[in-house]
Amino acid sequence: MTTTSRVPVTLVTRAAPGVEVRDLTVVYKTPLGELPALRGVSMIVEPGTITGIVGESGSGKSTLALSLLNAVQPPGRIAGGSVEIDGLGDVLTLGGEELRQARGRHLGYVFQAAQNSLNPLKTVGKQLLDLGRSHGVRDGRALVRDAMSLLERMGLDGARVLDSHQHQLSGGMRQRVGIMLALVLNAHLVILDEPTTALDMITQATILRIVREVHQERGLTTLMVTHDIGVAAEVTDRLAVMYGGRLVEHGPTREVLGAPRHPYTQGLIQAIPRLSGDITQARALPGRPPTLGTLPSAGCVFRERCPRRMDVCETDDPLAVAHGDRSVACHAVELPTPGVRVERATPAARVPSGAEEDHT
């Protein structure tokens, strides 16, 4: 059911929470001192949307995702900022029991390596009950029933899966179990970190479809972290592009892809090998993505590779500037840029297009 997800969000549910990330900074302790993996990231996630966070390896996507649960692992540390989640308040101020209860109950997390996110010694069913018990669920039977229906919803034999150990499930099945565990306690904010990275293409397509369908049916706010822009493009409503620990561009998916504004986004999209279109137009981005150690401490993180860099980029960090529902952090973007196609997203793009095929 790929088509209905593009229904305006407010119609779907009241339960979906919004998220507001403000000025989030996360540092990792390294031999070279504490280095920022996220620097001043601000982002608003509207309730009921699927937001994709894309970026190359090391751009800070996982760190951002973990920050939403206040779960940055040592040697990392959240150095500043806030993460307001509707119904929970600032997650970064939560601690102990409160935080634990929030995780799982309100915030569902599907792990980057969901392949290994299950206890190898216990059956899925037992782990489900552990989860229930940890969150004070009295009615184990009902929990199992919910889990079974979720699994069946995702096309699995619920009873058999609950009775299986991790190693008895295929990668795609495990990923679905991961999603089930994130949702079974009725969390309405779901964060998926690279949910399809280790899967083959056909399974990936299935998982993406499930993500979309479940999102829509349960009325969730979903954040999906991925390095594969195609994956993000396929499922998300909104897209946030990260580079070097910064959020460089954020806006509706089709607009960002169709009319990227930030030079990085533009270069990136140009650099994607694609099945359609003219291959001679494709260009790789020059230079190499930064790592924690090579990030410049001041100025624009992208300037080394930027075709439109200016003097100001050396010294000043560009602030994210909002244009309607899009925002871009680039000194050069205010100016009209020749050669880059800027197209306003047409309303048609957001209309549910029954034109897309159905494959149930």
């Binding site: 089709r254 994607i272 090998p273 260009r283 590779r305």
Partner: protein, 371 residues
Amino acid sequence: MISGTGITKTYRRKGDHTGPQTVPALRGVDFTVPKGGAVSFIGESGCGKTTLGRIVAGLETYDSGDIVIGGVPMTPLRPRKREPYFRRIQLIHQDPYSALNPNRTIQQTLRAPLTLRARQTGRSGSWVDERAAELLALVGIDPGYVLPRYPHQLSGGMRQRVVIARALTVDPEMLVADESVSMIDVSMRLSILALLKDLRERLGVSLLFITHDIATARYIGDGSELYVLYRGQVVEQGPTETVITGPMHPYTQALLSAIPVLHGLERPGADRVVPTEALDERRPDTGCLFARRCPFSTQRCYDEHPELAHCLDPAHEHACFHPHRRQVIPLELHAGTPVHRGPADGGCGAAGTATGDATGAGSAGRVRTTA
């Protein structure tokens, strides 16, 4: 020219006493790579791509079939005798991180094979260093910067270039690139692809390109052939663009259908094929290997084994009893690519191992098409 005929390989699982004892990784694969040509292999995970690549590079033995390198069949030769031939085929590893010894500088890494080469051809020691610099320049990196460094001090893209340069030290006739770009950051993938294409054009090196990302197969240069592997078998084969835009085999179609659409830049293709169930290796393999998952399968598919054959285009072969061209890949929003549709070549099934009476059932499968 390098070619393979009927290559099979079955892995025996030693030590592990549970589960099936043997894994058929390749079940009779034929291919031909012309001099300076390029061949891509695509397929799902576990379909045998890596195995094939390693066999072709001489790093793995094969059970039966033959590999012919420059007109010399390898099978009758003793392993020792094969070595010089296989040295003309160099594998470029998927993972540039593990493909370089972390304890050795790039200079040391390049010197070893070059010194050997110099000794074989009676060249001087200074040639070694010159050649190293030359090769690095050839793959597009600054020798002065790279040579004294350790691999971890280089980016993924640079590392992959070093790996390619190292493969070039022995002046290979063919490079086998196994997922050579999948571990490289998106922003730099194209530059490696461009390099491979460039090497083909400038040095006349053939290329065996292995990937699960079909899109990259388009970037390795003109005149490339695409082979679709499924469970150790080639199910479709033809010129890359032809196969991508007009796949005939339902498996190829399913594979292409699964590729995410870059909404905003692209719109979905007209057709879409989704397998009816997940792969289960434990099932017995009779008839068409894809039959169980195929939305179009008939009884014949379970009973007979389809062989590769062509229909209309002699260069485009496929192993299906019910071939049907479908347009499954997304189209660019702003350019109108022609859409291949309908049963343009219906009724032209692949040759069966046994002649059954069932005929192609056309597009009776579960396909939804949209205008």
